[in-house]
Structure formats: structure tokens, C-alpha cells
Symmetry: C2
Subunit: 245 residues, 2 copies
């Protein structure tokens, strides 16, 4: 047996998220079915983390074990070729048998894309949330910087979550304008359920002038989901990169 | 009554083409339903031409007549707001009562996009056809230039067409590489059924080395669909711009 590590990009539009669920079409389900067609093996792939329905990935990382003798350098093409165009295998490499795509994560980067044009860009409509009111990205950056550090992110987490410990560390949040798009780039050691989408929704309210950047500190301290802004739509969110040792 | 001219972009992925068809979701059907919700009028919009199922538009032009008193400058937002994100109203302007979106067309530009990367670009998978074998765009341009002029394009037209006169004029065909993408930009006074997709499929065969650029002349002369290349997939095609007087 040997362990393979794959870098996977996917368009989440038509999927019920990453994780296998009964009666649903999921990214994990599609990849496991592709491996079954290739090697005949029933494997369970392990991702760096789940993504919700409608959320995309540019740099999701997965691992799985296989007894197949297909050379590593052929795997990228062979696997990609068995998948629909909405799932792209960017690379496949041999990993040590103790590599774990979820447990070994040191940092993750998510990006949230807002189309801030008066006329939205058609070719980005599936990957960006259209927000026609002008956003002040300097105000958004001011607010975003107040999220950096180790905090209890209860206010920025769906009330439906079952996780007990809501302390996470955000290493960096950058808000950048690129033409009519505003990107929120968020790096942390882990993210709670809906956390980046709630951060994005809150930063949009700051960018529109409905909230002050200074309010972030009180929102964090309140540990109350009601204090933060709305949850931004899934389609603007992309799991961008996963960092290991 | 007054006539409005609209510039419309759409993602054809989930539509059965532009033109209204029973039991199908079409671009025309969506726009007419949106106008009905806004003004209460049952209008029939006129497009510069149809697009097939799965084909996109960046600059489709339509016209329609309305008795509504909504100011012209409000129409773009009002109409766009009633449409799904896959249909974008780029502009709305008043047109003279004798303007006709189809009859007055002088030239149209279609663009065909090929993703020629070994690893396809996920975010373009709905708008480009992935072609992993390296394409020689200089050879493709050599072939493309032989299509320019007035010709009988029977060889580059679906055999299923009912149009009698298959003479059209191509003013220009440009083949340009932009990173891992190869764009075919085709301007003409009109295009037959599947014409740009057959041109794209044929140019790919030239770009791969399976055909010679010089063969184009004989293909045209043969007036036989069997002589040209395959029909490239719908998803790579976009109606880019429509030109009037």
C-alpha cells in the first residue's frame, strides 16, 4: 500500500458539499467513485476539511491509500480523466505513510470574492457574490485587522455548530480590491462552521458604512452570533490553500 | 410605446439556448417573464440571433417595445434585478422605432475559448473547452486566414440546417494565445448553424498537426460537411459582440 496526496480544485455550484452524504452528489463521493473505477478499490479519501454546499476549492488537499501499481506520475492524469470538469486534480504526489491531510494541517487560507461592480461580471457569477453598493476596502481592512490573533470566535460561528472549543487563531486577513472585485483573504489555524462567510458578511456591512471597524472588538467579546453581521452566500467562498509543515 | 435596446450577457450552461421552446428554460423566456413581472406586458423580445443550448453570450443585443413609463436610465437595474445571476443586463438604451436587433446587424463577433493547459483552469471550465494536447496557434492562424472572404460554408455548417443559401462573408479570424488559453475570434456578416464550432474543431485539428493549414481551401470547395473537422463543444463558444451601423 502507498499513500497519495492530491491537490484538488472544484466548482461547488452543483454539489452538496465535500463530504459524502446519503443520496447526495458530493466531491468526496465523486473522487471515491473515480478511484474505484481506476483500481477497483473501495477507498475512503481524507480531506483537509469539509466545504459546505456551494463552496468552491482551489487548493483542497486529500490523501488516500492504494495498492495500485500505477506510477505516481501517471496518477494526476488518470484520476482527473475520470472526473467531471467541475473537479480538477491539480497534482498527485507520494506521501509518507504517516501523512494525514486533516490532522497535519498547520494553516489554511480561504478567499471570499465580492463582485462590487454596478454591472456584475458574468463569467464570475458562480464564484463571487455580487454586491452593488460601493464598498470601502480601507474600512474593511481596518475591521479585518481586528480579527487577527487568538480569539473565541463564537460570534463568528453558526449557532448550529456542535464544536465546544471556539477558540481559533487568525494569522492574517487581507482585503484587496482588484478592479471591480474585492477579495478577503483569511489565514488561520482552523475555521469554525460558516466563520469565513460571517466574517465576509460583517466586513461588507463595515465597507458599506453600516457598521464601524471598531465594533469588531465588542463583537468578539460578546460571544454571541447575533452581534456579528449576516452570513455571506456560499458561492463567493473558495478554500484557497492548505499549509503543512 | 417605445423601443428599448439591451446589451445582454448570459451563461448558457443551464439553458436550452436563447430561443423560447415549449417546456424548456431559455434566455428569451427568462427575459420575457422578467418584463412581464415589471410592466405586466406580454412582450416578445427580438435577439440579434439565436444561440444554442450551452452557448454563452457576452454581448447579445435584444430589442422590445414597451408602454411602461419607467425612465430609460432605471431600466438596466430594474430588469437585471428580476433576472437570475446567469443573465446580466449590461445596458439599456432608447432605440428608434425602426431599429431591429436582427435585421440591422452588420457584423457579429463570436469567440471560441480553448483551455490548452495540461491542468485545466477550474474557474473557466464552463466557458472553455479543455484540450490538453499542445496547440500550435501559428498553424491555426495560417488555417484561419484561409477562411476569410465570401465563401459557401456548406462544409462548415451542420448537415441538419434548413438554410438554402450558405454563402457568408468572414471579415476576420484571429487566433491568439493568452497563457494557457487559445482564443479564436471570428467576425462575419452572419454565421450558419454550428459554423463557429466547426471552425474551432477544425482549427484544433490543424493546431494538433492532424491536418494541414492548406487543406482549408479544399474543404471549402468540397461543400461537404464530412470534409471539415469535428464540431467543438458548445461551452467554449460565446457570442461576443454584435455590430450595427
Amino acid at each position: 500500500m502507498r499513500r497519495l496526496k492530491c491537490l484538488v480544485a472544484y466548482d461547488g455550484t452543483d454539489y452538496s458539499g465535500f463530504q459524502v452524504q446519503p443520496e447526495q452528489t458530493t466531491i468526496q463521493g465523486e473522487i471515491e467513485a473515480a478511484i474505484r473505477r481506476i483500481t477497483g478499490e473501495t477507498v475512503q479519501i481524507v480531506g483537509s476539511g469539509r466545504t459546505d454546499a456551494g463552496v468552491h476549492a482551489y487548493g483542497q488537499v486529500i490523501h488516500f491509500d492504494t495498492a495500485s501499481t500505477i506510477p505516481v506520475e501517471k496518477w494526476r492524469f488518470v484520476l482527473d480523466n475520470q472526473l467531471p470538469p467541475a473537479i480538477v486534480i491539480r497534482s498527485v504526489e507520494a506521501a509518507s505513510s504517516d501523512f494525514h491531510a486533516r490532522f497535519d494541517v498547520k494553516m489554511k487560507e480561504y478567499r471570499y470574492c465580492i463582485d462590487n461592480g454596478l454591472v456584475p461580471d458574468l463569467f464570475r457569477h458562480r464564484y463571487a457574490d455580487h454586491h452593488r453598493h460601493p464598498l470601502d476596502e480601507a474600512r474593511m481592512q481596518d475591521a479585518a485587522s481586528r480579527l487577527i490573533g487568538e480569539h473565541d470566535f463564537t460570534s463568528f460561528c453558526s449557532a448550529k455548530t456542535f464544536v465546544e472549543n471556539k477558540v481559533r487563531t487568525i494569522f492574517d486577513v487581507q482585503v484587496k480590491r482588484d478592479g471591480q472585485f474585492v477579495w478577503i483573504m483569511c489565514r488561520g489555524n482552523g475555521f469554525l462552521y460558516n466563520m469565513v462567510r460571517i466574517i465576509a458578511g460583517t466586513l461588507c456591512e463595515v465597507g458599506e458604512g453600516k457598521r464601524q471597524p471598531e465594533e469588531i472588538t465588542a463583537m468578539l467579546a460578546a460571544r454571541d452570533r447575533e452581534q456579528a453581521g449576516k452570513t455571506a452566500p456560499a458561492k463567493g467562498l473558495t478554500m484557497w490553500e492548505v499549509f503543512y509543515e
